[in-house]
Structure formats: structure tokens, C-alpha cells
Symmetry: C2
Amino acid sequence: MNEQRPIGFIDSGVGGLTVVKEALRQLPNEAFVYLGDTARCPYGPRPAEQVVTFTRQMANFLMKQEIKLLVIACNTATAVALETIREELPIPVVGVILPGTRAAVKATTTGRIGVIGTQGTIKSHSYHRAIAAKSSQTQIFGLACPKFVPIVESNEYHSSIAKKVVAESLKPLRGKKIDTLILGCTHYPLLRPLIQNYMGPAITLIDSGAETVGEVSVLLDYFNIGNPDPANVGSCHFFTTGSTKMFDEIANDWLPVKVTSEHVDLGK
Amino acid sequence: MNEQRPIGFIDSGVGGLTVVKEALRQLPNEAFVYLGDTARCPYGPRPAEQVVTFTRQMANFLMKQEIKLLVIACNTATAVALETIREELPIPVVGVILPGTRAAVKATTTGRIGVIGTQGTIKSHSYHRAIAAKSSQTQIFGLACPKFVPIVESNEYHSSIAKKVVAESLKPLRGKKIDTLILGCTHYPLLRPLIQNYMGPAITLIDSGAETVGEVSVLLDYFNIGNPDPANVGSCHFFTTGSTKMFDEIANDWLPVKVTSEHVDLGK
């Protein structure tokens, strides 16, 4: 078994980079390869079958890069495609929903948890089901925020428009008395300061993506496929189906490593 | 597959109760069964082969209780017996060393990590090896604290003697400029206030046992053996090879559930 093989990450666009950022910190000995389907982003409003097809295409592309573990670093894709992809691939496949669920159940003291995500994720009720299965006493409040992903993908997440959109979108959660809010989309951590500011400092924000790295680390150890040889520390490759310029701008703003992405075509 | 089967915990004595406490919080839908080998505690100074034998006896006892996953909630036993027991049992087996390692690598900012544990755990260099494999830039400072377990097992962890012993034992770590300290023995969280007080508020204490519950949760989900039916919520059974009176005193001081343990004889 070649333990130096990279860990693969797929996302509908740049959102999964929030997971890679945490992976670079928690798994400094590992190599990574990332594919963002920027050209077909957002996935949130697409029909489930199409999201499964796109996710499979991305997974197969990364399998050719000889990855040892795949992270579906996209909540929408996790919600509808995780089980299928897990059955199809011979390597461990990790999604972002269960890790966020675990962290939220651990964090809440009142048992009132909010979840924000894309339309696809919220409509799937994946977080509701996962939380209810773990902790039957918990109340969950889901809210779709369809405007968040386009703001991040267009590199406007530092703008005043972003602040306004965040406030308007999150308004329905005011008065729900939640103490924990799951960022149920890997794009949302880029809006984290605005979200925290609007919700107030008493609300614990759960970054599903960051929590996912803990699960990756558990499975690397459990299946004994971690890389104990630091020779290829920090090796990262990035692919995007869209504009490499836009991708690199966001990636270099967000990550501590220099990113020069390659373009790849997966069809329409 | 009967997902309502309990999760098993074994420890040399009462230390593993610190893991159960966290499990009750993070996995409220699960049932638990615990065996503490109080009569043969401490394991720390015993030869490795003997610890393997004792651990196997405990694991086999819990297998008869039809557990679905085993937690070796004892660092000494994890250090020397995890691999063997994992090979011998048909269910997932989890130790406490890797979870503590992961949390420490995540928490440290200076890369200087201390580890305290029994003589057996420190001598095994298990934490050293596990941390080095994950993060080659990290410096690790190990220290055996053989007086801690007897203080906890004799229910003296609230006493002034405990305060003095903690200060004397931890003195060698002063001046090492660590920013993170792993409590590499499941008994030590009962001494946590004294340890934090001596080390100072700037040091992040890592409770290996509590971190282990995160790994249990990941594996329950990964192998799809979590209990989604809350009918048996909070079902806990406790066994000890020693005095049930002493065990119940400590367990009822520490846990939020009422504990009435049963005696079991595993030999000498």
C-alpha cells in the first residue's frame, strides 16, 4: 500500500478550500489534490440525479490521480451522492454532513440547533435526519441561503453587499433561540465573520468542513493509510473546471500555500 | 445487525469513566457497558505481556455482553494491547492514544507538546511515535506520573495531598515551553482542575478519553452501527473486579447517571 498517495477533495467550486485549509493544519504530513467544479457551480438548485452524475465525474477524475481517500467537500453533493459514491469506489469516502452533525450535538447545551445550507441540502433534510438519529431530544431549524454561494464564487465575500445579504438571509433564524448554528455548506466559512457578527457572539458556529478533517484523520489511522514519511509534506494540486484566474485569486486569499490551479474539462 | 447492542468500555479501574461521561453527552442514543479491573489496578507498572492478557480477559468478558464496538479506555492497555485485541475481535476496537494525538496536533500553535501518563504508557513511546507520524515538526516531552492513578482510585482526588502530588510530579515540565499537555491516562481528568491550576491557564489540556468519543462516533457512522432508536437511551451497566462500594462512590461523584456496579471475578 502506497501511503504517500494524496487525499482527494471535490466540491462544486471553491467552498471545499475551507476544508483543505483545515487539512493543511491538522494533517501536515499528507498530500492533497483538489477539484472544484466551478464551471457548473452552484449545485444547490440542481436536481439530485444531476448532482450525483457530476459528483461521480469528479470522483472518477481524482481516482485517476491515485487518491487514497476521497472527501466530498460539498454539502449538496454529500446529501444526495455520498452513499452511491461510497458503494462505487474501492477507497474510503467521507462526506461533510455527519462531522458537522457530531460537532453540533457536542456543542449545544440547549438542544436547539440551526442549519444553513443550499436549497438542495436543506430540502434533503440530511442534517435533520442525522441529528435526530444521534440525539432525539434536539430541535433543528433549517434555512436555505441560496444567495451565499454566488457571493463567494464571485469573490465578493469581503464586500458590503455580502454583509447585507447575510443579514437579510439569516433574519428567519432570529427568535428561534438556537445556541448552535451549522454552516452546512463549505462555502459559508468564507462568510463566517459576517455570519457571526449578525447572529451574535453567543451562537457557536460549526464549520462542517473543518470538522470533516477530524473524520479523515480517524479513517487514515483506522485503515492504517496515513503518510508517516514527511518527504512530500504540503504537496497540493488544484484543478478547476472554470476560470483558473478567479479560482487562484480566492484560493490564494484563503490558503497559506501558493495556488496555481490547472483547468480541466468535465463537460456540461 | 442489531444496532441497539451496547458500546463496551474497559479500563484498569475507574479512569475510563471519564470517557463514559463524554460518551453519555455526545452519544445520548447509545447504550454502554463498562468493566473496570479495579482489583488489578494500576496497570502502569506491569509488564506489557501481562497487560495484554488482562486486556484480553476484559474484552472477552464484554464480548459476552454482545457489544458492537470496544473502547480500550486505558492508555496503558492501548499502548501495548490495541493492535492484538483489534486482530482478535470481529468488531471495531478503538484506543485512546490516537484521538489524544489528533487533538494535540490540532491544538498546538508552537509545536511543543507535553504528554503525561503511567510508566507503561510513557515507556512505550506510543504518543511520541503517533505524534511524529502525523506532524514531523513537533517536539514532544513525556513525563510519567506514577502517583496519580493511586490517588484517583483511592478517591483522594479532591484532597490537599492530591494538590501537592500534582505540583511535585509536574515540576519537570516547567520551563519546557509547551503550549499543549496531553492527559495521557484516563484517570487524569479527575485531577484536571489541579493540573490546570499548576500548569497555568495558557496551557491547553487534552483529555485523550473525551477525544476518543469523537472517534467512536465516526466509526459508528462509518460502519452504520449507530442506534437510531432512542428506546434504550442512557442504558448503562457497570462491572468492577474490585470493591463495588468504592467504584460506585467515584462513579456517582463523576457521572450524571446513578451507578450501581456489579462485581465480577477475572482472576489474579
